[in-house]
Amino acid sequence: MKTLIILALSFGLVLPVAAQTNVSGTRSRDIQVDAQLKIKAAREEFQKSIQTTREEMQRALEVQRDALRVKLQGVKDARKKAAVERIDRNLGNLNARMTAHYANVLDQIDAVLVRIVGRTDKAQQDGKDVVSVRAAITSAQGAIAAARAAVTAQTGKTYALNITAEASLRSDVGVARKALHDDLMKTLALVKDAREAVRKVAVALAQVPGEKGSGPTSTPTTTNQ
């Protein structure tokens, strides 16, 4: 009887300690999987939102082009008329191309952040202090969200050419050109901010003592400068 009691007490003392490590490890992995699922959902939501906005923008663009054709009936010079129509088309194409590029850049930045988050989780499991990294991650996620919101809004914008007279075609068209340029530069700045924010996360993680970048294999990206 005495033997049985001592045995039961030994099990009672030792097994919870051994089990604790596994429980906390499983919990960390659950949090990690949950975070990655959230990031994936945010990315899918962004792509869906971009697609919807793009379709709405295409419909608005068609209406706008019909209105431009009516306005251009007063322009006698056929060459100038063709040039204005081309500018109108090219402004729309440029906006579509640049917003698609920025959306793609944000997906790439996000993918890098996901891997850094994975490494941070691992570092935390190993008992390292990752408080500053977590703060940088939160900041980067906010920057990516802000940039995505700007890209989505920019995707939906159209730039109507307000033609007033044949003599003022250049300045009339210039107004729309400037508006698109200013808007794209604002969006570009936010995308660059997001990239810089993710870079800061990588720097913060590298500065964690004992964390020397033994983490994920980086996927080479082919981009145009």
Partner: protein, 70 residues
């Protein structure tokens, strides 16, 4: 009585082994030498990847050419 102590010792050793094995699982893999060099305090492979993500400026040259022709 000796048998009891041996049994307890076996249980403690088994638990310690389990704890050690579990800790080993969560250790990062050793990094290959020469790789992952630090650059300004950052992991060069990651920062290099971030820097390689180009954010292009909009190119208005085609539009500007047409505007100048007006």
């Amino acid at each position: 009585m000796n048998k009891i102590y041996i049994l307890i010792a076996a249980i403690v050793i088994a638990a310690a082994g389990l704890w050690f094995w579990s800790n080993q699982q969560s250790q990062p893999a050793p990094s290959p030498s020469g790789m992952n060099q630090m650059n300004n305090g950052a992991d060069a492979s990651v920062t290099g990847e971030i820097d390689s993500i180009a954010v292009d400026d909009p190119d208005f040259s085609t539009v500007d050419g047409d505007i100048n022709s007006l």
